[in-house]
């Protein structure tokens, strides 16, 4: 009985400790960014890895989501005889919700897991310590470029996802089901306001920082957790953890941002 209580206590404490470390890392990154030397090339390389190489995945998933939305909204709206709302429905749900969330989840799966694995392996093979020995701040050299690249890449990927998904909805609605082109496009333009675009932008910026930060912290502070002593198995453990945690963080903060900003 006492043992169980103790377990609950341990879980709570480790949870708090990890959350604290993650946000501490954010402060460290901001502090490191303000100090010279500025390394732009490392950021470019990370934008290439997180952003440019995710582009094909984002385009494919965007078209698919747009087409699925077009299909589903069409069959629902047809029952009420208001097919002319198809454009508005697809555009609003993509720009406000699905675009930022789906993009963030895709980036978590593609780039987030790789970030955690990379940093975790660098930590257990003592490459991070080697950097410190050479007086190179690992926060600045390893973590900061990834967080900044997330901040820049995820909003851009979201914008690509949104426009491609609108095209997917257009394809299903107008080309396949023969909804009037004017009512699809104008319904979309009338329904979407700057507030909706801004909400999507705010979400994608926050998601971009959040997922890269969680994934970096998981790998970077691997030696402070139980997994640190387990070698390669530990890396797989923290990678799984990072993906699960950042996905949950994305979904939960999506709700929070939606509740605050609307």
């Amino acid at each position: 009985m006492l043992k169980k209580l103790e377990n609950i206590g341990t879980y709570t404490l480790t949870g708090l400790e990890q959350t604290g470390r993650t946000f501490n890392l954010l402060l460290l990154v901001l502090w490191e960014l303000a100090r010279p030397p500025y390394r732009f090339y490392t950021i470019v390389r990370q934008i290439y890895f997180i952003g440019a190489r995710s582009l094909s995945l984002i385009v494919i998933s965007g078209v698919t989501i747009g087409m699925v939305l077009g299909l589903q909204f069409y069959s629902i709206l047809e029952r009420f005889g208001s097919v002319n709302l198809l454009g508005a429905g697809v555009a609003l749900s993509v720009i406000r919700e699905l675009g930022p969330v789906m993009t963030a989840l895709m980036v978590v799966g593609r780039a987030g897991s790789a970030i955690t694995a990379e940093l975790g392996i660098m930590r257990i093979t003592e490459q991070v310590d080697a950097l410190e020995c050479m007086a190179i701040s690992p926060n600045k050299y390893l973590v900061a470029p990834k967080v900044i690249a997330g901040l820049i890449s995820v909003p851009l990927l979201t914008a690509v996802f949104d426009s491609v998904a609108l095209f997917g909805g257009y394809f299903v609605g107008v080309v396949m089901f023969g909804v009037a082109e004017g009512s699809y496009m104008n319904g979309m333009i009338d329904a979407v306001e700057w507030e909706d675009v801004r909400l999507g932008l705010v979400k994608s910026v926050i998601f971009g920082v959040l997922i890269t930060l969680i994934c970096c912290a998981k790998g970077f502070y691997m030696h402070l957790t139980k997994a640190g002593s387990q070698g390669a198995e530990g890396v797989s453990f923290v990678t799984t953890d990072a993906v699960v945690l950042s996905s949950i963080a994305v979904l939960f903060s999506d709700f929070l941002i939606g509740a605050i900003f609307s």
Binding site: L55, L156, D162, W194, L201
Partner: protein
């Protein structure tokens, strides 16, 4: 060569992203960096019943402006609505501003019904002839609870 490649691809990615965002914001979201040329008129209504700033102003079914501001006048207990009318759309002195609803439960908008006078309203003037919102629930309750003898 490898270095150049990464930079080139990153540059292309960033340009595609910015282009997509501009498309979403400007074409779909309707962001204007310069205000559309036009003039502002005011109108007083006894009830606007749920109309929001940003609502559409129509004349003959065509969008000719937007509602830019809604204020409450505590003295007369009326709503003062500012209408931003596009350049080149004439509004006569005796024109009527009426609040209408799209469909039965749709959004509220303001319909401009042209008048016969030759004098046109200019920036800052007031449309005197107004028709307030028709409240469907009030009409229904009036009908339901009226004494039908």
């Amino acid at each position: 060569m490898q270095k150049l490649n990464i930079e080139l691809l990153t540059g292309i990615f960033v340009m595609i992203g910015i282009a997509a965002f501009t498309y979403i914001a400007v074409s779909i979201g309707g962001v204007r960096f310069t205000e559309q040329p036009g003039y502002t008129l005011t109108a007083r209504f006894t009830s606007i019943s749920g109309m929001q700033a940003g609502a559409i102003v129509e004349a003959a079914g065509v969008r000719v402006g937007t509602v830019s501001d809604i204020e409450f006048d505590p003295d007369s207990y009326e709503a003062i609505v500012s209408l931003r009318i596009n350049q080149g759309v004439p509004v006569q002195e005796d024109a009527i501003a009426a609040i209408r609803t799209q469909g039965i439960i749709g959004e509220k908008f303001i319909k401009i019904i042209p008048g016969g006078f030759e004098e046109l309203l200019t920036d800052g003037m007031e449309i005197y002839e107004t028709e307030s919102a028709v409240n469907l629930e009030e009409l229904v309750s009036k009908y339901m609870f009226s004494d039908k003898g």
